[in-house]
Amino acid sequence: MGIKSSVSLYSLQYQYLRGNMDLDQIVGYIMSLGADGIELLPDQMLKGTPNPTEETYAAWDKIIEKHHPGLACDDIFLNTNLYTNRTLTKRECIDLIKQEIVMAHRLGFKVIRLVSMVPAWILEPCLETAEKYDVSLCIEIHGGLGFGVPKTEEFLEEMIRLDSPYIGIVPDTSIFCRRPPRVVDEYCMDIYGTNPDLVKYVNDVFASGKDTFHIRLENNGQNPEMDKYIKDPAKDMFYAANCDGYENVPLSVMDPFAKYIQHFHFKLYEMTNEGVEYSMDYEEVIKYLHEHNYNGYVSTEYEGNRWVKPGGYIPEKEQVAAHQKLIQNLIRKYEG
């Protein structure tokens, strides 16, 4: 019991895409790092989800029996924009979530991570199915889509109203960035030609204890100071929009919701040579979870793989190994 370590298979997605590792090898690699469990995106490494064939299920069972990973979390998505000419109706969305619950149960998961922006109204109609299959539905609190964003707030209100052990949250440490990811800064300057003064402005904002997401949120979507540094939209707009996906809030934002935390995404942009993550202070996060008696997994989610220059080596295995070493050491330090 207590805090356990896991790795989201998202972290090794290019190993899978390029055929370097299959699902069996990826799970085996993660367990060889001393992790307690795995987190899966079924849409990523299983075929035919949310209704895979018995053959696919049998192959999954074989992998689980071979490596014995704890099954930390099942990351699901709701394709509300499945069609271009309309948004899915409530009935269609609820039916899709119910199918995901049944699949999560069959795969052996007890926690579903609903991607940010899943509407709160799916909860009550899906609760009976969640209870029947013993799977909880937890919204991701991600940078740029976190506390204060209307759809997330609606979800939290509904979670509190329904007050069920089958509804919770999955915070993502992208809301606790003390510096913006350096790999993103370098990628955008090198590949898109982003204005270095814009990058400096964003870094200065974080150094002052704020973030660009909240400046915009608190100013009706405006940030005229930042706009001054957008010299060429073709080079600068992607970076400007992307940096609003990182927040710099204190851990205390979780205080009112601590009892609802059922899983935790430990984002990883870049492990430095000093053995720490460049943007986030994982010691403060583990300490917080220990002090709040958190009982669940914390899952490495390596996203630095997106920010490797074309043709460059993507160090997924090395970064995940270094992050797990850090996390497992911190868990030992605080939990004994």
């Binding site: 998202y10 997605q13 899978y16 895409l17 055929g19 995106l41 849409d43 990523q44 490494m45 075929k47 035919g48 989800t49 998505f77 709701l78 394709n79 509300t80 924009n81 499945l82 069609y83 271009t84 000419n85 991607v115 940010s116 922006m117 889509l145 929009a241 997106r306 490797v308 074309p310 043709g311």
Partner: protein
């Protein structure tokens, strides 16, 4: 961000059917990190030596079982383009690509459920037809 997924090197070649070259095709990975139904492919575009291919000449298959035009894909919900499984983009053009070197540009654009902008990936490769 997903440019590296687009247009797998060495896969572009002319396609022959019943003794005739009916066009050319190339393989590509998805511009996303998970599989999606084909209806969520926003568009595919091909440009050869700076000239855009008419959209109606483009066909796609995620598995070499079923082929669809871009218009037809809009309603395909049960067939998915799986992550890690290359799809094939074919351009119907009698005679295919002529002998010699061509700059072939492929764009793959997908819609996602929670990211407000579609995810577009682009890649140009030099293709030599012998």
């Amino acid at each position: 961000m997903f440019d590296n997924n687009v247009f797998i090197p060495g896969t572009c070649h002319n396609v022959e059917e019943d003794g005739k070259i009916i066009g050319y095709e190339m393989d590509t990975h998805i511009t996303y990190y998970r599989g999606i139904p084909l209806s969520m492919i926003n568009f595919l575009a091909v440009e050869v030596d700076g000239v855009k291919v008419p959209a109606e000449n483009i066909r796609f298959t995620p598995d070499h079982i079923d082929w669809f035009s871009l218009d037809e894909m809009k309603t395909v919900r049960t067939i998915k383009w799986e992550y890690g499984a290359p799809g094939t983009v074919r351009v119907l053009q009698e005679g295919g690509l002529s002998k010699g070197s061509h700059e072939v540009h492929l764009t793959v654009c997908t819609r996602t459920a929670y990211i407000p902008v579609p995810l577009e990936g682009n890649m140009t490769r030099t293709v030599v037809i012998e």
